[in-house]
């Protein structure tokens, strides 16, 4: 744990988070003030798919794996299985340990990143995936209430953040639309042969 102490949650750390790009140093400091620091050990569950969440997790250091539940056909019928979709890794600073398991999926590197960002726009947002720590994680939690209060006092904080959330939502929607189109094609394919 001692090694992680050098990552302090300040305005500089906040500015590295992808969602908070475009905020002034002062605004970042305001956000840093409401973030509650937290650490995770490897294999700790950070977010759980299907849970309702009103918090967003800001990962400052470490690597996480995003996992989704899928139905697969096994020899004994249909069963539920978990599949890794992607790994996210910080680069500033990079993880101080190697991940517990080698990645089988693409590893996306960002200076620092936020997960569960949809909670910022909806209190009833459902976690769309499970996130598990792969290395020791230095993170912070920001609640929707705290963020809303900041937005009330300084409306200019909200706009850039919401734009980033909207971007990510649009991205997700586009992928989902493509998925539906692929599945529809596959469905007709399966029916027609």
């Amino acid at each position: 744990m001692a090694a992680k102490a050098h990552v302090s949650i300040d305005d500089k750390a906040i500015a590295r988070i992808n969602l908070f790009q475009g905020l002034s140093t002062k605004q970042c400091a305001q956000i840093a003030a409401v973030v509650e620091p937290i650490t995770y050990e490897p294999e700790d569950l950070i977010l759980s798919e299907g849970d309702q969440g009103d918090t967003m997790v800001l990962v400052f250091q470490g690597q996480v794996e995003v996992i989704k539940r899928v139905l697969i056909k096994a020899s004994n019928g249909i069963s539920e299985s978990k599949k890794a979709i992607i790994r996210l890794e910080t680069t500033d600073p990079p993880p101080d340990e190697n991940p517990v398991t080698m990645p089988t999926v693409h590893v996306v590197q960002l200076p620092a990143f936020g997960i569960g960002e949809f909670s910022l726009v909806s209190e009833t947002a459902i976690r769309t995936a499970t996130v598990v720590a792969m290395t020791p994680i230095v993170a912070g939690i920001i609640t929707i209430d705290a963020f809303n209060k900041l937005a009330e006092t300084d409306p200019t904080i909200a706009a850039p953040v919401f734009r980033e959330v909207a971007k990510s939502a649009v991205q997700n929607l586009a992928t989902a639309t493509q998925d539906i189109s692929n599945l529809t094609q596959a469905f007709f394919f399966a029916l027609s042969t």
Binding site: V70, K83, Q178, N182, Q185, A186
Partner: protein, 444 residues
């Protein structure tokens, strides 16, 4: 009965069979030991013994043998009795024919046997005959008994010959019948089929016809096709023994056609037999290539299930033609005229649409062909592109879903691509756009 019960019963049956097999092996073993004591070449002795048993069983059961035994017994009794009763007659006749020095017991007995056989076979040379009343009485009795016996005997011989022919009595040479063609069933198309084969394969192709048509009908129908080496096996082709007799397991292909060999005029061939024959042939060898030729569409799924390699559903146009003869007179005649490309040069053809007309409407293209060639455009054919799901999905959507689709479809045995095929658009609307690569179907 539930499945567990059934499984248990199967196991019980299996055990029973195993015990039976064991007991058989033990008995056989004992026999071998016994023969081994008698003879130092057990294999040879045993084979000889087995041959004898087979022969003896046949000997005991054969009708012909039974009657022949009676005939032989009567001949023997007649010879001995006549020699005793008519001693003077036979010795006298012998002395006349051959000289007194030949009158011995052996020659007299042989002379009596001669008389008996001549009488028995109703030949009756009359060179010698009984003269005493007792001898004549005995001769009369023998002749009367013989009358019945000879009738039965000749009848048996005749029926054996017929039975042998019905069983397709030919013993084919297994070395000759390899990579041959087996055709099960008999109908009017057989000749055409064989003729097409004869044209395609000039070398001496071996064909075995298995059906229940008369030998002379078969030889009259296909005997003149000299290019093929045709053998006819008379038998029911749904029976395994008959098919094995045609060495079907060594054949290149087995063609099963609707069988009309045992039908009365007006009856329809029994398609069930085609299914049965397919099952039997596939049962003999799964690798066998079976092509079944059927008349009704309802048989097709059954044959697919019976694992037929190919099913030829004959001429789906026939019912259409027949129906149209009644409802739309002229249509079948027109079609026949077009298909049989008559001397007046009218017929169906495919024409390339000039490049300049690509992307134009159908009415324009039709007018062009009408004006330049006096042709009527009936429609267009074009190559419908194949479809590849994987290519179509490419990198779109989430990799997770793509991988899942691929995995699940492949597991379910669904092919991820469709081959390209030729599509036809018949009598399109005037504003149908003729794309590049379309070909016109024209009535010339």
């Amino acid at each position: 009965m539930n499945l567990t019960g059934l499984a248990n019963e199967c196991r019980f049956k299996q055990n029973e069979l195993a015990e039976h097999a064991k007991s058989l092996i033990q008995t056989a073993g004992h026999e071998e030991v016994r023969i081994q004591l008698d003879d130092n070449a057990p294999g040879k002795a045993r084979r000889a013994w087995e041959k004898f048993v087979v022969f003896y069983t046949w000997f005991r059961s054969n009708e012909l043998v039974r009657y022949a035994k009676w005939a032989f017994l009567i001949l023997l009794v007649s010879t001995v009795v006549q020699t005793i009763v008519e001693w003077d007659t036979f010795t006298g006749s012998l002395a006349d024919q051959r000289g007194p020095e030949h009158v011995t017991l052996a020659e007299t007995l042989f002379h009596a046997l001669w008389w008996s056989v001549v009488t028995f076979t109703t030949v009756g040379y009359g060179d010698v005959s009984p003269v005493t009343p007792f001898g004549k009485t005995l001769a009369m009795m023998m002749m009367l008994v013989n009358l019945g016996l000879v009738t039965v005997l000749s009848g048996t011989i005749a029926s054996l010959l017929v039975a042998r022919r019905l069983q397709g009595g030919k013993e084919l040479d297994p070395d000759k019948y390899q990579e041959h063609l087996v055709i099960c069933g008999w109908n009017a198309t057989i000749r055409d089929i064989l003729q097409s084969i004869a044209v395609d394969r000039p070398k001496n192709t071996i064909v075995v016809l298995v059906n229940e048509a008369d030998e002379d009908v078969v030889s009259r129908t296909v005997g003149d096709i000299k290019e093929l080496d045709i053998t006819h096996i008379h038998g029911n082709y749904t029976e395994e023994a008959v098919l094995r007799g045609a060495f079907i397991e060594q054949s290149r292909m087995c063609l099963i056609v609707p069988d009309e060999s045992k039908l009365q005029a007006g009856d329809k061939p029994d398609e069930q037999r085609t299914i049965l024959a397919t099952l039997t042939a596939k049962g003999i060898s799964e690798e066998l290539f079976v092509v079944a030729h059927v008349l009704s569409e309802s048989t097709v799924p059954h044959l697919k299930r019976a694992n037929a390699n190919d099913v030829v559903f004959v001429d789906p146009h026939v019912p259409f033609m027949l129906a149209n003869h009644a409802t739309k007179p002229g249509v079948p005649q027109l079609l026949r005229h077009l298909v049989e490309s008559g001397s007046d040069n009218h017929g169906l053809s495919i024409a390339d649409v000039p490049e300049e007309l690509d992307g134009q409407r159908h009415e324009l293209v039709a007018a062009y062909f009408r004006a330049t060639h006096q042709w009527v455009v009936l429609g267009y054919t074009f190559l419908q592109a194949g479809f590849d799901l994987e290519k179509q999905m490419a990198e779109s959507g989430s990799p997770l879903i793509r991988a899942m689709i691929k995995e699940q479809l492949e597991d379910a045995g669904v092919k991820l691509s469709m081959d390209e095929k030729i599509a036809v658009s018949v009598n399109p609307a005037d504003d149908f756009v003729v794309e590049s690569g379309y070909k016109a179907v024209v009535l010339t």
